[in-house]
Amino acid sequence: MKVIKVDPDKCTQCHTCDLWCGIEIGSERKELNDAIHEKPQPVPRVYVEGSNFPLHCRHCEVAPCIDACPNGTMRRDPTTGLVYVYEPTCIACWMCVMVCPFGIIAPSASFHTAVKCDRCRNMEYPICVDVCPTKALVLEEREEGATWYGYAPKRSY
């Protein structure tokens, strides 16, 4: 499966990725000038906070969020392996938010649902990778057993 690889040396923390994520994925109208005035405020799925490392969902091989979800709202796409939130059934219990080891699931009070990166699974190409001006973000095939790309602890139970 293809995941987003981050090169922290190239990241300038310009926030272009989370701006465009908010516009293209988070907003209703999908246009820069409309999205920035939208209420409730669109929620970007990627985080550039403090260090030069845009945080995305790692789409873990063994995903704690899927395990923790009480009603099957957090799902894995069987063909692509991407983890996503099936919003209609989210009861906003925030179990996934608590267990995510990367802290990338946002509890959105205004939308009453958990919001997370699904690597733009309905689009040809993730928007953040598309807009990154320094190419710090690239889409790459996940290597077999590479823990850098995927949080994959061995199950002990």
Binding site: C14, H15, T16, D18, L19, W20, G22, I23, G26, E31, L32, N33, D34, A35, I36, H37, Q41, P42, V43, P44, E49, D130, V131, P133
Partner: protein, 561 residues
């Protein structure tokens, strides 16, 4: 992040685009595509790099960085990005003026009307001094009183420019107050332009409307060609033309003032395609001023072995010797470039350019407006912007407006764009115009074309025209059905220009949208608050529109008589 599929409306430019693609020579359009997506924070005015604690942004989707390090919120950030453009633009006009005035003071030229020139020079010194500028008396008293009451009266560069520029550096001020400062700065630019126009006529004499040929077809094949780019002292232009006289050298212009009496520098092309003349191989030397010139020209010139002479350099020396040097260099370059092939497409169009407000009988225009023969007046200005198909917007909007009986005047590079498509050709006048407008234009004179060009941005043609309209119609400008439109704007000078047009009471539309859209409050202030203070709005249009919709918008905003 808009990708412009069709680069240009101009067939000559299109022809050279293919050649550039084959030879892999990057032009402005390629560089634009390379820079996509452009920074969304900068595009919407939500950024600031006015100090070294930044750069800061106000993130529209994140709660933790809504304000900059110093506390500028999104409204202040947006209004500051407007101020920044206006200050830069106003300084452009002041630079042109002071450059010219210094030349006249140093007796580099001999003024035709010496007394008048001396009076204007004194007035120019007042810009730096107490700000009691004589030329302001040419403006209607009601207008200047209004400006004084609002506090935007341009009283010298100390308060109208230095002070404004410091608004960016700190202090507390709300959106409305800061915006008024911006208008004050813009009006200073207006004063500079008016003074420059007057100084020009007193030094060189009154311009007369002349039939000029434009577009690349005007380049000659067998003699040296000097191209003047951008803005520099008109006295230097005069000296270059003087030096070239009788020497079989053609001096032409791009994005520069074409009329320095008694000489005319035919506009070879306009802003968007300023790199294309080099591609013909028929240019031997380019003389480059500061404003409106793409730095890319220096690299491109190397490919065609064209020498580049910048005018605005330190320790330039006397104008006469510099001009002679330029002409000699051009002759040498022509010999040295004999092996470079010259490919000049035979496409040109003629147009009557260089009207001044005096050449138009404003009483007839005012009467036609009052009688309802025409719907109103539109001012078309601005250059080209790579975000739009070159010349498409301005030419199609002009055609729509003419069809709808709107009297159109144009300025600067906008005129060259319109001239390329025959809208300044008096023979083709009635092709585009509605009946009422045709009758008015015919009554104004035989050589008056569909769109009346009121000179380059170094003249105050449009401002003079507006002032004489106001006195002819005995009304405030804000009561007239006038609208200004910048369909393909890109320079900071255009932003300052738009701001002072609004301050004079003329509603103004600006494309592409100004970088203030991150703050709804700033957009609202530019319309509602400005309407209240000046009687006109500066419209910030973010919706995508076809030219027809834009033209309809312009016609709708014309006040009913």
């Amino acid at each position: 992040m808009d990708f412009v599929q069709r680069k240009t409306e101009d067939s000559v430019v299109d022809y050279f685009l293919k050649e550039a693609a084959e030879k892999e020579i990057p032009l402005v359009w390629d560089r634009y595509e390379g820079s996509l997506p452009q920074c969304g924070f900068c595009e919407t005015g939500l950024n600031c790099r006015d100090c070294l604690q930044g750069p800061c942004i106000s993130h529209p989707f994140r709660d933790q960085n809504k304000v900059g390090v110093c506390g500028k919120d999104k409204d202040i950030l947006a209004v500051h990005s407007f101020v920044r453009l206006v200050v830069q633009g106003a300084m452009g006009y002041l630079d042109q003026l002071t450059d010219f005035a210094r030349g006249v003071e140093a007796k580099e030229g001999s003024p035709k009307r010496k007394q008048e020139a001396d009076k204007i020079l004194k007035d120019i010194q007042k810009i730096l001094g107490n700000g009691d500028i004589e030329v302001m008396k040419k403006f209607p008293k009601t207008l200047t009183d209004g400006w004084k009451a609002t506090g935007v009266y341009p009283d010298g560069i100390a308060s109208a420019l230095f002070k404004v520029s410091q608004k960016l550096d700190g202090g507390v001020g709300n959106v409305e107050e800061t915006l008024l400062w911006a208008f004050k700065g813009a009006l200073m630019g207006c004063v500079a332009q008016v003074l420059q126009g007057r100084l020009k006529t007193s030094v060189f004499g009154d311009p007369a409307p002349t039939n000029v040929e434009v577009n690349l077809g005007v380049l000659p094949k067998d003699i040296p060609v000097v191209l003047l780019y951008g803005h520099f002292s008109p006295l230097l232009k005069l000296k270059i033309a003087d030096a070239a006289k009788g020497k079989k050298i053609k001096v032409m212009g791009v994005c520069t003032d074409s009329f320095i009496a008694p000489y005319i520098f035919p506009p070879v092309t306009n802003y968007g395609s300023q790199e294309i003349p080099l591609m013909t191989g028929a240019v031997d030397l380019i003389v480059i001023g500061d404003q409106c010139v793409n730095p890319s020209l220096a690299e491109l010139a190397k490919i065609w072995k064209v020498e580049v002479v910048p005018t605005e350099v330190l320790n330039r020396g006397g104008l006469s010797s510099f001009a002679k040097e330029i002409v000699e260099k051009a002759q040498e370059a022509f010999k040295a470039r004999s092996e470079v092939s010259r490919n000049i497409p035979n496409i040109k169009e003629s147009g009557v350019m260089g009207f001044s407000a005096k050449d138009i009988d404003v009483n007839k225009v005012a009467k036609a407006v009052a009688d309802g023969k025409i719907k109103g007046i539109a001012i078309l200005a601005g250059c080209n912007n790579v975000k739009f198909t070159q010349d498409h917007e301005i030419v199609s909007i002009a055609r729509e407006l003419l069809k709808k009986d709107v009297f159109c005047v144009s300025e600067g590079c906008a005129s060259v764009g319109l001239a390329k498509f025959g809208l300044l050709n008096s023979k083709q006048r009635d092709v585009n115009c509605g009946k009422g407008l045709s009758a008015l234009l015919a009554s104004l004179g035989k050589n008056v074309p569909a769109v009346v060009d009121l000179g380059s941005c170094e003249n105050s043609g449009v401002t003079d025209f507006l002032l004489s309209m106001s006195s002819a119609g005995k009304k405030h400008l804000k009561e007239f059905p006038i609208v200004a439109c910048f369909p393909e704007a890109n320079r900071t000078k255009a932003v300052a220009r738009a701001a002072w047009t609004v301050a004079m009471g003329v509603p103004t539309y600006f494309w592409p949208f100004l970088p203030v859209t991150g703050s709804q409050k700033t957009i609202d202030t530019l319309s509602g608050f400005c309407e209240e203070k000046f009687g006109a709005k500066l419209h910030v249009v973010t919706q995508k529109m076809e030219y027809k919709e834009k033209a309809e918008l312009l016609v709708r905003s014309l006040k009913k008589v």
